[in-house]
């Protein structure tokens, strides 16, 4: 029972990592119809950037964090300005495949720059809430894990409320559904795409800072994170941040349970096999068709 409880806790924490990136992928896909494969790389930049400025360059922690986030925001802004403006104008013709590869190239670029700046070793940002893990009976809660879970719930919940209940959220949704239609009724679709892109990049960076004490990051960690976020977003129907959040948590718990009870070695293999079977058996239920056509 204790094992089960601790496995579920560990699963929820891993799951909230997946969930947060899934939410970022889903929200930006909803506004721009582009799947962002670089979201994990922004997290990596957040973690390694803060580590570099704080530990190597000796800046105070708050300065290091703010500087890193500012750099991420400016970079995201410039990328939108230079690349996405041109790419998006062409998107209507080229469809999802080509635009997908722009963020793919972006991911390679960020990883390469990170390798130049931060080297190839495993690093992490300093823990923000240090101390022994909290215990409740025989259950253990890592402090960083609690922060991660809190971040995931706040971010996912905030986006869910924003899209469901606010006018800005509706405008965001309209931008993704029909760019021309949204522009005709006076929605600046480019501005929504820009702000959500910068927003999700900064959120990913913050999340990387919070999360990195748990897993540690190298310059190549971004792709793996993006991939799990992408998969969790897929099971949330790609466009739905609320469902993406739940899917991320579900995958995390399933992964922990498979690792704990089935096989530590082949747990992930079984997990991915289950996920693949789910898609093939139930594509409509998972929202794949609406994700493509909508």
């Amino acid at each position: 029972m204790m094992k089960l409880g601790n496995l579920i806790i560990a699963g929820i924490i891993t799951g909230s990592i997946y969930a947060t990136f899934a939410v970022c992928v889903a929200v930006w896909y909803r506004v721009s119809n582009i799947l962002n494969l670089a979201v994990g790389d922004f997290a990596m930049v957040g973690a390694l950037g803060v580590d570099n400025l704080y530990r190597v360059k000796g800046l105070p922690l708050p300065v290091a964090i703010i500087t890193t986030l500012a750099v991420v925001a400016v970079f995201a802004y410039l990328y939108d300005l230079v690349v996405l403006r041109i790419a998006q104008d062409r998107r209507q013709m080229e469809g999802i495949v080509v635009t997908f590869f722009f963020t793919f190239a972006l991911s390679f670029f960020i990883d390469g720059v990170a390798k130049m700046l931060f080297g190839t070793d495993v690093h992490a940002a300093p823990g923000l809430w240090n101390g022994n893990s909290l215990t409740l009976g025989s259950l253990h809660f890592e402090r960083a894990g609690i922060l991660v879970l809190a971040c995931a719930v706040i971010i996912g919940g905030a986006f869910w409320v924003y899209i469901r209940y606010t006018l800005g959220g509706k405008a965001l949704e309209a931008s993704g559904e029909n760019v021309v239609g949204a522009r005709i009724v006076g929605i600046d679709t480019r501005r929504y795409r820009l702000w959500i892109f910068i927003g999700t990049a900064v959120i990913a960076a913050i999340f990387g800072i919070v999360e990195s004490p748990i897993t540690g990051f190298t310059y190549l960690s971004g792709a793996t994170i993006s991939l799990t976020g992408f998969i969790a977003a897929a099971y949330g129907g790609f466009r739905k941040p609320g469902r993406a959040l739940l899917a991320g948590l579900f995958i995390g718990v399933l992964e922990a349970l498979l690792g704990g009870y089935v096989s530590a070695e082949y747990g992930d293999t079984v997990l991915y096999a289950i996920l693949a079977t789910l898609i093939l058996a139930w594509p409509r239920g998972l929202g794949f068709e609406s994700a493509v056509s909508g």
Binding site: V83, I86, A87, R90, M93, E94, G95, I96, V97, V98, F101, F102, F104, A105, L106, S107, F108, F109, I110, D111, G112, V113, K115, M116, L220, A223, L227, F230, I231, A234, F238, E265, Y266, D268, T269, Y272, A273, L275, A276, I279, L280, P283, L286, F288, E289, A291, V292
Partner: protein
């Protein structure tokens, strides 16, 4: 009719000219030979000159990857079936050869064909499961494959785990010298690459290449035009996997070592980068992409250290300039240069100037009617050579013509006696709780023009989709000539003689008018991708298409790219595409929408002539047009059939007036 019969028919000569022009263009060089020769000559030269140096070893490694990317160009680029299975099957090929070599001491050259056959079988089994998915579902489901594979390989002892698997043998089994091993192995890889490029290029240039192009643009349109989409998707998957396994075998045989990273998701990403930099739809582009990336990685200077930055920037810049990659940039450049050269010379740049397009149907109507009504030899030939010519009951166009419009009405009257062509029996369709069609029953005879009207949301297009097969009914049956076709997929119904157009124009942009029409003339009921390496039926299909275009007086448009045409012309091309195979039942979804009054009148004349040889079911909002051309009109409202009668009753019916005229 008589003035139409005596009207001069320019059609046959134009059709002949169009098709002979096409034949002349393609007859010069055999399909797929140019890229293959380029690969053989350039590859052999590089191996012979640099084979024993570092440059040569980088080239051979690049050629191994190029074998994989050439398959990806067909599967992912050209047909847009995004499946992330290549790195896994590269691993299957490489590990398979390594295992057979080290455990059974089998020479690499013997092990390779065994592994390829094994991979093909594995891909067939795996593919028959995963290719049921489409689009993003296919992409995400196959994304799991590298993740599963890397977990499995790193945990397995017999594959060497994270360390990798060594080989004792080499691709070129020379005991005497390493020089012979290097050069011989390099030449073997070049030969494999040439074979793969030859197969891929010949498939893309064949009739099935055209099918795959349509499949890539829109799977539903492809199915409605007779493309057997489930089979093509499976064939593509197997082709991609087999090429990848061959690349893996070449890799193992030349590198003499299989690292775990070969099945890694990042290996899949690297392959995709190669494909997109080179040009996703071009086989030779994919090969060049692999060469460029491998050379950059092997450069051992600033570039290879920071390869990620270089690849990221390179891919972004190339995609911004041209989404078709380097191949697209080169093609555009060559077109520009040749356009310059031609302007400097005498001739006009295109086949037909824009002025020729304006009213494609003006001159055509007489010839179209003449062709249809009088049993013009060209039209009759088109019907006889159609994919449906195995169907025994194809109506004879000559007798249809002599029967005339009144004769067709007579057939309607007699339909109670024989089996109707189409029967819709008590069809209902529900989406969730919403009932779109309720208990609709109707029957149509062999010939004549019938209209389906109703307010928006009445279920007209849904009924057309149920008949065409793209939407399965919740209840009820659809019968064609007395045979139940309710469970048949759209492509099978197409071969039974059901052809259709769409409410929104569904043409294939990036292809000529001729190719767009040729899609419906491919008649590939039994063909498979691999038989097309031998013989293509594309020219046959194009000839039929040229005839169908000529029948509608549109022969001059044959070589125009469809996105450059006006809406009316696009609708006419779509109509030509639906007519070209000589259908028994023609489903037209709002063919007049967006057309001017003049254009509608030309359409009316054309439709009337069509109705003399085939059964046309028309969904239309233009009540005047409907009443003018139809012999019988069905009105749907809220999914119920509320009216069924002739044009006279239609005009006077209070139900129709309250529903459609709004008085």
């Amino acid at each position: 009719m008589s003035e139409f019969l005596t009207a001069p028919a320019p059609a046959p000569s134009l059709a002949g000219r169009a098709s002979s022009r096409v034949t002349a263009l393609t007859a010069r060089v055999p399909r797929g030979l140019t890229p293959t020769v380029v690969v053989v000559v350039a590859g052999a030269l590089i191996v012979l000159i640099y084979g024993q140096q570092y440059t040569g070893s980088v080239f051979v490694l690049a050629a191994c990857y190029a074998i994989v990317t050439a398959g990806m160009a067909v599967q992912i680029g050209f047909s847009q079936q995004i499946a992330f299975s290549q790195s896994v099957f590269m691993g299957v090929g490489a590990y398979g050869v390594a295992l057979l070599n080290t455990n059974f001491n089998m020479p690499v050259l013997v092990a390779t064909p065994i592994v390829i056959v094994g991979s093909a079988l594995a891909a067939l089994i795996l593919g028959s499961v995963v290719t049921r998915a489409s689009g993003l579902a296919l992409a995400v489901a196959t994304l799991m494959l590298p993740l599963i594979a890397v977990g499995y390989v790193s945990g397995s002892g017999y594959l060497g785990g994270a360390v990798g698997a060594p080989l004792t043998g080499t691709l070129w089994p020379s005991q005497s010298s390493t020089a012979a091993q290097l050069v011989g192995g390099g030449l073997m890889v070049v030969a494999m690459l040439a074979l793969v490029v030859f197969i891929a290029a010949r498939i893309l240039a064949s009739d099935i290449g055209l099918e795959l192009f349509v499949l890539g643009v829109d799977e539903r349109t492809a199915a409605a035009l007779g493309v057997r989409t489930p089979r093509r998707k499976l064939e593509l998957f197997v082709l991609g996997c087999v090429f990848a396994a061959l690349g893996g075998a070449a890799y193992a045989g030349t590198q003499q070592f299989v690292p775990e990273t070969i099945v890694d998701p990042t290996a899949e990403l690297a392959l995709l980068i190669m494909l997109f930099i080179g040009g996703r739809r071009s086989v030779i582009g994919a090969v060049i992409g692999a060469l460029i990336i491998q050379y950059l990685q092997g450069a051992s200077n600033w570039v290879s250290v920071n390869i990620l930055v270089v690849e990221g920037v390179l891919l972004t810049v190339i995609l911004l300039v041209d989404p078709e990659g380097l191949a697209g940039i080169v093609t555009t450049g060559m077109k520009w240069v040749s356009g310059r050269l031609r302007l400097g010379g005498a001739g006009r740049p295109g086949g037909a100037g824009p002025a020729d397009e304006v009213h494609p149907a003006v001159s055509s109507v007489p010839s179209a009617v003449a062709g249809a009504g009088a049993g013009d030899p060209v039209a009759a030939g088109a019907v006889a050579n159609s994919p449906f010519d195995t169907v025994p009951v194809t109506p004879d166009p000559v007798s249809a013509a002599t029967a005339g419009l009144s004769g067709a009405t007579g057939v309607t009257g007699a339909s109670g006696g024989g089996t109707p062509l189409l029967e819709v029996r008590a069809v209902s369709k529900e989406y969730g709780g919403l009932s779109v069609l309720q208990d609709v029953t109707l029957a149509l005879p062999e010939r004549g023009l019938f209209a389906l009207c109703g307010p928006n949301g009445a279920g007209k297009t849904t009924l057309l989709n149920v008949i065409g097969g793209s939407v399965p009914p919740s209840h009820g049956q659809v019968l064609l000539n007395g045979t139940d076709i309710t469970r048949q997929p759209p492509h099978q119904r197409f071969y039974q003689g059901i052809s259709r157009t769409f409410q929104a124009v569904h043409l294939i942009n990036g292809r000529t008018v001729l190719d767009n029409v040729a899609v419906s003339c491919l008649s590939s009921t039994t063909s498979s991708i691999i038989t097309r390496v031998g013989r293509s039926r594309l020219e046959d299909a194009r000839r039929k298409a040229a005839r169908a275009l000529a029948d509608l007086g549109m022969a001059d448009l044959a070589n125009r790219e469809v996105s450059s045409l006006t809406l009316e012309t696009q609708r006419m091309v779509e109509l030509a595409r639906a007519l070209a195979p000589g259908p028994r039942l023609l489903l037209l979804d709002e063919p007049a929408s967006g057309l001017s009054e003049d254009q509608r009148q030309r359409l009316a004349v054309l439709l009337t002539s069509l109705a003399e040889r085939t059964c046309v079911l028309l969904v239309e909002h233009d009540l005047a047009l409907v009443a003018q051309v139809s012999e019988r009109i069905f009105v749907l409202s809220g999914g119920l059939l509320v009216f069924d009668g002739g044009p006279a009753d239609f005009r006077s019916s209070p139900v129709v007036n309250s529903l459609l005229v709004g008085s």
